[in-house]
């Protein structure tokens, strides 16, 4: 981002160099022509993106903002109802449930996933043979995790008296089934996201590789143990990467849909008893299955605002815990 902003003064410098004469404010015709050509070229190269922005992003955003204040079923024309969608929402027990389920999913799943990702990244950061193999193997679940196949497999794994249940029993834990138990089912969904820790792991690994080895050597000379070296060197040095992963994973978690929908489809989607009714599941349910497009739009805007706020809070908090090296910026 900074690079692009740097480009402007550079251009200014060039054009002022070309007009060294005393008091000559006019830009030479050739340069002017060149500038126009650049503008035209820029616009032409960007034209698909601009069309996409207007037709598929900015336009729909405005429409969805409007629909959020209407009663709209896709067939009759939208009817303005003011804030009613929002007041309906807050009083709707299923909506409340979807908020609870989503917060549970985000608040438990994201930290666990990052913890596992960091742990494995630390393990793989030691230069051992076969590292590339392990790295790829740990990354694989991230690629397939979002597919319907894995959601189906997950249902089989966590079914009553299936492999996870049985393994628990082997260790003497009480097994009560995950999938058919509404209180437990959300945790099978959480475990599904935790299982896909490969993507943040690879990013952590890239961050760990950047930590200068001299720092550790110096700390070792000073007699710092493993834990202190981790706490005082590794963690601050990778805090920008940790921040990046936290931001990305949190935003993504709020938007989970497919795996919850498939994992929960037993009669009703995202069930039983709405146990995995994540926010987007309810949005889909109301909008596309229930024909309440206005209500669903209001839900979508609330999601947008929530994600925006969470992003803002994370950015605000980074001043306190993210350590950027001044020299490199």
């Amino acid at each position: 981002m900074t690079h692009i902003q740097d480009a402007a003064p550079e251009r200014l410098g060039k054009s002022s160099g070309a007009q060294d004469g005393p008091g000559a404010p006019a830009v030479p015709a050739a340069l002017k022509r060149r500038g126009r050509q650049e503008n035209l070229a820029g616009f032409l190269f960007l034209s698909p993106w601009v069309v996409g922005l207007v037709v598929l992003t900015a336009g729909p955003m405005l429409v969805s903002l409007y629909l959020a204040f209407t009663d709209y079923n896709l067939f009759d024309s939208p009817k303005w109802i003011g804030l009613q969608n929002f007041t309906d929402m807050f009083g709707d027990p299923r909506w409340q449930k979807s908020v609870r389920v989503t917060l549970q999913y985000v608040a438990i799943g994201t930290p666990l996933k990052l913890l596992l990702a960091l742990g494995v990244a630390l393990l793989l950061n030691q230069n051992r043979r076969g590292q590339a193999f392990y790295r790829a193997a740990f990354y694989a679940p991230s690629l397939v995790g979002a597919s319907v196949s894995i959601a189906i497999v997950w249902r089989a794994l966590f079914a009553d008296d299936a492999i996870v249940d049985r393994t628990q029993q082997l260790f003497g834990m009480q097994a009560g089934g995950w999938i058919s138990n509404p209180d437990m089912k959300i945790y099978s969904l959480v475990l599904l996201t935790v299982w896909q820790f490969g993507a943040p792991m690879v990013i952590f690994l890239a961050g760990l590789k950047q930590v200068p080895g001299e720092l550790y050597e110096a700390a070792e000379v000073d007699g710092a143990g493993t834990w202190r070296r981790f706490w005082n060197i590794t963690l601050p040095m990778i805090s920008p990467v940790l921040f990046f992963n936290l931001l990305l994973e949190t935003i993504h978690s709020f938007q989970v849909f497919g795996s919850a929908y498939v994992l929960g489809s037993q009669g009703s989607s995202c069930g039983p008893a709405d146990s995995v009714l994540v926010y987007t599941c309810y949005l889909y349910d109301q909008g596309f299955a229930g024909g309440r497009m206005g209500f669903a739009s209001a839900m979508a805007w609330l999601l947008l605002i929530t994600v925006g706020l969470v992003t803002a809070v994370l950015f605000w908090s980074q001043k306190r815990w993210v350590h950027y090296e001044e020299a490199t910026r």
């Binding site: 190269f45 429409v63 896709l74 051992r128 894995i150 990305l248 497919g258």
Partner: protein, 285 residues
């Protein structure tokens, strides 16, 4: 400490590391191994059994797939998914690389503002656009066609790939395109002859991720397609599961595995690009 004990300590540490890494890996890949084993077991033995390796392997689960789902051969779903995935890859490569070139190499008025907008779209939850886009395509009578699923790819709405390619283009030596300009190349020729060939790693990464995302996509096809003969593999799988409420676990699992094959094949072939591309760009799979 003598050199020998030092060596011994090192190899003991190495052994411990390998055991540790292997144990973690075994836990992580356990579901995958279980699925592969499960696909070769009779349905009745899948759920209740802890064995990874089937006692008497059968292939019935796979041969059952030749029957198709609801009278539609499984190959139909695969062809549909393939058409969408390849179509998406082509669209993303063309449109995103053009936009990336504009942001990286052309100094046009308003670039900074548009760039900020592009970054902003990265953070926008897709669900805000879902309903109005659906309304739009419904008004245009394009529901149950592939247009809604493909159009965005040709209009560079995947800002992540624009960003990825742009970062890559900015790191190319400036002298190259300056020399091209001096030789009289316009932007189009510089883009096509100089920049694109040098961007191959970024293009490959984007292509793989687009293919896999398109293959795994569930929400898009779920909303826009309503005729089973147009369904993708993801929807076909879902249909298979719904249809078999009696729990034909064997068939279900075999089908799931077959549906994963293209993604796994891509992964095996390109995992080096993928994992490195991930690390440098922070791209999500």
């Amino acid at each position: 400490m003598s050199a020998l004990t030092g060596y011994r300590r090192k190899s003991a540490g190495s052994l411990a590391w390998h055991i540790g890494a292997f144990v973690v890996l075994a836990v992580v890949l356990y579901p995958v191994l279980w699925v592969i084993g499960g696909s070769l077991k009779p349905s009745s033995q899948i759920i209740g059994s802890l064995d990874l390796i089937p006692t008497s392997p059968i292939t019935k689960n796979y041969s059952r797939l030749t029957e198709g789902i609801a009278d539609i051969p499984i190959s139909t779903f695969f062809v549909n998914s393939l058409v969408l995935a390849v179509g998406s890859v082509v669209g993303v490569l063309i449109s995103c690389s053009l936009a990336a070139y504009a942001f990286a190499k052309i100094k046009f008025a308003g670039r900074n503002a548009l760039f900020a907008v592009m970054i902003g779209t990265l953070l926008l939850p897709y669900h805000v656009l879902l309903i109005p886009q659906y309304v739009l395509f419904q008004k245009l009578d394009l529901i149950n066609t592939y247009t809604p699923l493909l159009l965005g790819k040709y209009l560079a709405t995947d800002a992540f790939f624009v960003f990825l390619m742009m970062q890559f283009m900015r790191n190319l030596p400036k002298e190259l395109d300056e020399a091209a300009r001096l030789d009289g190349c316009g932007h189009l020729r510089t883009y096509w002859l100089i920049v694109l060939p040098l961007c191959r790693p970024a293009l490959i990464t984007s292509a793989i991720f687009t293919f896999i995302n398109s293959w795994n996509d569930f929400l898009g096809p779920l909303i826009y397609l309503n005729e089973p003969s147009k369904y993708t593999v993801a929807l076909g799988l879902k249909m298979f599961v719904d249809q078999d409420a009696v729990a034909d676990y064997g068939g279900m699992i075999a089908m799931s595995l077959v549906a994963l094959l293209p993604v796994l094949a891509f992964f095996m072939a390109f995992q080096r690009y993928l994992v490195d591309g991930m690390a440098t760009s922070g791209l999500k799979g």
